[in-house]
Symmetry: C2
Subunit: 190 residues, 2 copies
DNA sequence: CGCACCATGTAAATAGTTACATGATTCC
DNA sequence: GGAATCATGTAACTATTTACATGGTGCG
């Protein structure tokens, strides 16, 4: 399981509260591992019991108290152990692809707005990645190892979004082309 | 949830037993939605209770009896209803990306064999997709609507694998480049 | 006042994985 | 004889999602 490890990476890079972690999972880390705050709080307590993280209560005025978590030495050892275990290539879950094949059992053009909506969301995400890349990695020659690794993961996200956009264009073109030449020969020449 | 719907698509395209479904989920459907046979059998019984699928016992000699499932008209209606509901763009879960960022907290070169292993698996998968494409869609101009939709989903899988391969090459190049110019200035000029 | 943001949680339900079980046939 | 394939399942566990709950601050 990688949620523990994703949290460890995030906390070792930068300590933070459960809430802050949840926001990071909505942004950078969430590119390759998602989690809601409910899950994060629960896992954080388990990790505390295992000694992987340690929390410190911070009183704030004007805002609720928060608990800032850090990765411990034991947490780092657990992360390194995990790093040496093989993981299986990800199991893909792509609901839109299920829908595209399902469209054969309905009017496929009904799917066009849905695909266009996904296209717009992916285009917006790509734009956010590119803005983040210019902000965080303006000079690729001046990065330390940690930043180079962060950058190569971000490049993966960027290339993924570019690929998806091109594919969604292919899907739209395919949907528009349906119902023409060979399919269901029900209306012959007049 | 899409497992029910993925099963419906598969059964509407071609009826089959739970076992056969599980094998399809290891192959074609599994490109974009994975499921184990345990899950499939459980969901199949729920779908039967909902009237979405109907099973027929087939006695076989030399082999165990099997139950061949088909999608019903009600199942097809449920699929079409789902088609008209919006789905959210997929939540990506990419464990290897977590590992790549985690590599900053260990010797990053230890990750090279793992990345190479993933690269080899993705290359093999791409090869299988391309073989399947030549076999199932030799003449793209002669396809009916259902096949065109299957083909565009397969093209998505192909482009995904190509993108991943290019990215893993980028990751390997990045890993090899680590520890050079700017990082951790601990050993100055002699 | 209502909404958004900060901050942390509980409870319940659903989904998914892992381990185990059974039993026949075919291939090496 | 042992392994792989066909075929179907139960049980236990773990992970994830969804809904609900609380309460303060700052903004328009």
């Amino acid at each position: 399981m990688a949620l523990e490890h994703a949290i460890l990476v995030s906390l070792l890079e930068q300590p933070g509260s459960g809430y802050e972690l949840a926001r990071r999972f909505d942004r950078s880390i969430g590119r390759f591992w998602t989690a809601t705050h409910q899950q994060i709080y629960r896992v954080l307590r388990r990790m505390e019991a295992d000694g992987w993280v340690a929390g410190q209560e911070i009183a704030q005025d004007g805002r609720p108290d928060k608990k800032v978590w850090s990765g411990t030495a034991a947490g780092r050892r657990a992360l390194v152990d995990w790093l040496h275990e093989p993981v299986e290539p990800e199991t893909v879950r792509h609901e839109l692809a299920v829908k595209i094949r399902a469209a054969a059992f309905d009017d496929p053009s009904a799917l066009v707005p849905e695909v266009e909506r996904h296209r717009a969301e992916h285009a917006a995400l790509l734009e956010r990645y590119l803005v983040g890349e210019r902000r965080d990695f303006p000079d690729p020659a001046a990065l330390d190892d940690q930043q180079r690794l962060q950058h190569v993961v971000l490049r993966g996200g960027i290339e993924y979004e570019r690929m998806i956009l091109a594919w969604l264009d292919d899907v739209l073109a395919t949907l528009h082309r349906l119902g023409t030449p060979p399919p269901t020969p029900s209306t012959p020449g007049t």
